[in-house]
């Protein structure tokens, strides 16, 4: 592994500027991105850009302040440090306010992850453009009912980041990612349906490009003629993409900060049965296959595999240094940040539901009738991880006797997250690593309320 002294040096320099009684943490980020969007056989936009930025956290007299800037210029860095220092005077003291210390490493050895691919760095822009144009053409050509391709594109990024604090904890990581997508518009005279296909990897060779037109077109075409169906209670089979989104909503319930602040629906349930016995949920950023894989968390501590639910029993919550100390435990290496502009919070990176042994077809055949949900809408507006209320728009197909039947749109499916965990009937074997902080897998929920006509 080649280290980049430069970013880490910037972070170290800041960390070493701590005054007596002060703790200073610096997070430095640099990215380089390419983004191609195509339409109608032409490049619609081609973006090549990089960002760099810094976030500085200061704790003094148990008070915390934070400041950030989108620049690594010396004078800006100094200004940011002063601003963080000033901001710290306005926070009220909190005895648990803390940054990572060597003791928080807790004997955990950082995972050896190879998240960087030199190959991606050397791909010429022309090849990236070609990928996007080919995807659009292949999507258009795949089925006569495809009347257009709403969007197709390719994007990649390389990112490196460094953290250093005045207690001597530091980390440097870098990674590459790339992805491509297409959105098909299908119409057979019954109205337009859309379908989405995408693939992601760490370099172009890892992209399953052929799956993109296939998924986009199949998903659009199989919805042709979709209609709302009468309201009923019905078993629901979630497509892997949808399971990933549901896990994303659920994830804040495992968040130690939400727990301490009385905003987790799982508060007080540690050691209790909260899910069907087959349910096992882990957050494992050390798994190199997950897109959220990271050897270090956003406070510079080594990440680890955290079991959240096993045998349907709630086993733990996720913590950063602050929430760990406050709950009388240690960080679980679960500090995350939304870029350099915000102080570290708590979050998942690689949440997954343990896959079962049977393929998705077996799940569908296990109930006389079910709704197979291929996409949901309104996740941010219709779900509430505090109350557990869950109500989303859904489209997909009815499944009868194990086979796809009529397509369905303009319905909602509703339950509560608490109920859904208990109602998980089976998880398929098709665990799929997807971009974002959760993996996808086909999952059967035994009953939900479907609202339609």
């Amino acid at each position: 592994v080649t280290t980049s002294p430069e970013l880490l040096d910037v972070a170290r320099r800041l960390a070493s500027s701590a005054r007596a009684g002060e703790q200073v943490e610096a997070y430095v980020l640099r990215t380089q991105e390419t983004d191609v969007e195509v339409f109608g056989g032409e490049v619609e936009s081609l973006t090549t850009a990089g960002i760099q930025g810094i976030g500085v956290r200061i704790i003094v007299d148990h008070r915390q302040g934070y400041a950030s800037a989108g620049s690594l210029d010396e004078d800006v860095i100094d200004e940011t440090l002063q601003e963080a220092r000033d901001n710290a005077t306005f926070g009220e003291p909190d005895d648990h306010a803390a940054m990572a210390a060597p003791v928080d490493v807790d004997g955990v050895v950082p995972a050896e992850l190879e998240l960087w691919r030199d190959a991606l760095v050397h791909v010429p822009t022309e090849q990236k453009v070609r990928i996007a144009l080919d995807l659009e053409a292949a999507t258009k050509a795949r089925d006569p009912r495809v009347r257009g391709v709403e969007a197709a594109g390719y994007g990649d990024a390389r990112a490196e980041s460094a953290i250093a604090n005045s207690s001597g904890v530091e980390a440097y990581t870098r990674r590459t990612t790339c992805s491509a997508y297409a959105v098909a518009l299908a119409d057979d005279g019954s109205g337009t349906q859309t379908g989405y296909g995408f693939a992601a990897g760490r370099t172009i060779d890892e992209l399953d490009l052929e799956s993109i037109p296939r998924d986009a077109v199949d998903r659009a075409v199989r919805l042709l003629g979709a209609k709302p169906i009468p309201s009923r209670r019905i078993p629901v089979v979630f497509d892997p993409l949808v399971t990933r989104s549901v896990l994303g909503v659920l994830s804040s319930a495992f968040n130690g900060e939400m727990l301490l602040k009385g905003r987790s629906m799982l508060a007080g349930r540690l050691g209790e049965v909260i899910a069907a016995p087959i349910v096992e949920i882990v957050d494992d950023p050390t798994d190199p296959l997950s897109f959220g894989a990271a050897a270090y968390d956003s406070e510079g501590l080594p990440t680890r595999r955290n079991e959240l639910i096993t045998d349907g029993v709630l086993r733990g919550f996720l913590h950063n240094v602050y929430t760990g100390r406050r709950s009388g435990a240690r960080s679980t290496g679960s500090a995350v940040r939304g870029g350099y502009a915000s102080a570290p919070g708590v979050g998942v990176r690689a949440l997954s539901l343990r896959p079962g042994s049977r393929p998705p077809e077996a799940l569908m055949a296990s109930v006389p009738e079910a709704l197979y949900v291929q996409s949901v809408s309104g996740l941010h507006s219709g779900t509430n991880p505090i109350s557990g209320d869950f109500s989303v728009g859904a489209e997909g197909l009815l499944v009868r006797d194990g086979a796809f039947a009529e397509p369905v749109r303009e319905v909602t499916i509703a339950s509560t997250l608490q109920r859904m965990l208990l109602d998980i009937g089976e998880v398929a074997s098709d665990l799929t690593y997807l971009p974002g902080a959760a993996a996808g897998v086909t999952m059967l929920v035994k009953e939900m309320s479907l609202s339609g006509v």
Partner: protein, 460 residues
Amino acid sequence: MIETDILRSTLEHALRHGGDFAEVFVEDRRSTSARYDEGRAEELVSGRERGAGIRVVRGDTTGFAHTADLSESGLRAAAEAAAGASRDATAPRSISLTPASAPAPLDVVMPESVEKRRKVELLARADAAARAESDVVTSVTASYADAHRQIQVANSDGLLAEDDQVRTRMVVQCVATGDTGMQSAHEGPGRTLGFELFDTIDPEEVARIAARRAVKLLDAVPAPSGKLPVVLKRGAGGVLFHEACGHGLEADHIVKDASVFTGRVGEQVASPLVTLVDDGAYGREWGTLRIDDEGKPTQRNVLIENGVLTDYMWDLLRSRKQGRPSSANGRRQSYKHLPMVRMTNTFLLEGETDPDDIVRGVDYGIYCAQLGGGQVDPATGDFVFGVTEAYLIEKGEITRPVRAAQLIGNGPEVLKLVDVVGNDFETWTGMCGKNGQTVPVSSGQPTLLVREMTVGGTAA
């Protein structure tokens, strides 16, 4: 910000290998946010983002690059990256920039002129008010955010425009705990104002509204399931029109034939009671701008008049291609993003009916008092929006609160089912996400009745 000569030479540099159009967008944004949680000031955060985005258009292709280096050489490097796609040798093009009249100084209390302590104090007051509202309020998070954004736009058509924009917002979220579990609710007014926002908005009242909402939800019954009449209270229901047709009327979806409203100008697409405008110049709403992010002064655009589709919303590139003026709907999240067609303040104009009469006319249905956002697929028109405060209407009376649920419908169908429109009006503050970019918007409407929509509850 950047000197005119440097902008001009950057544009000339960007077009030195050809291209039809070039633009430099410069942004300097300072922000502060503060959060009060668990009864104490938790954190004050400040941010500074300064940079330029440069695009070069050639035919249908836009090349884009951005930089935080605003020196002449930094801008040149970004111009070259943006021009990457254009490689022909052409005669140098000379550009002359005509400055638009300088924007009037903002008559606001600039956020940076206000002591940070005062921002935190607001939150302390809100926190105390929320907790005093009820014993069952178990968690209060009050947050404050302000942003001062200076922008400068120059393009190869000779446009040179500047603006100074200020936004201030406060959000209070409360959790109430009872026998039925936890419920959360929030209230979050925001305006394009400075600190004087709090001359008209009382932080304590904001907190009490959020607290009452959360407390009421503890007694909520499961929302019904199926098709029901839906009354949308003035204000929040504007989200419905933002989703049901607003996105579908954005010209980028139209020119790609990826909207159900493509080719329908002049047609009756909604109930005759529906007049929909997008008005970026309106008051000091959350989506108000003097110029858009392509330098065009904002204006009131009538999209649907008495149910007839009159026009779409346009940005510079899409309108240029059609040989028509932009409607000043070109917006971008930051200099790091390309502009695209976005809404500003999207309003359904008021009608004539007393809002109380609207409720009285419903035998059994849902009264939506606050919505939590939504989502639409413009190509199919199918949209959802979540209700975060809603009640049953039984025999013309608003009765029991119902738990949060999603409502689903199809834009063109729902627009025709707007049966009654009230004579009241209010706006709502929100953030709108599209293709990975988030911009501040408002929506607004009077109290109105939609004959039926599918309510996604769990009650049998």
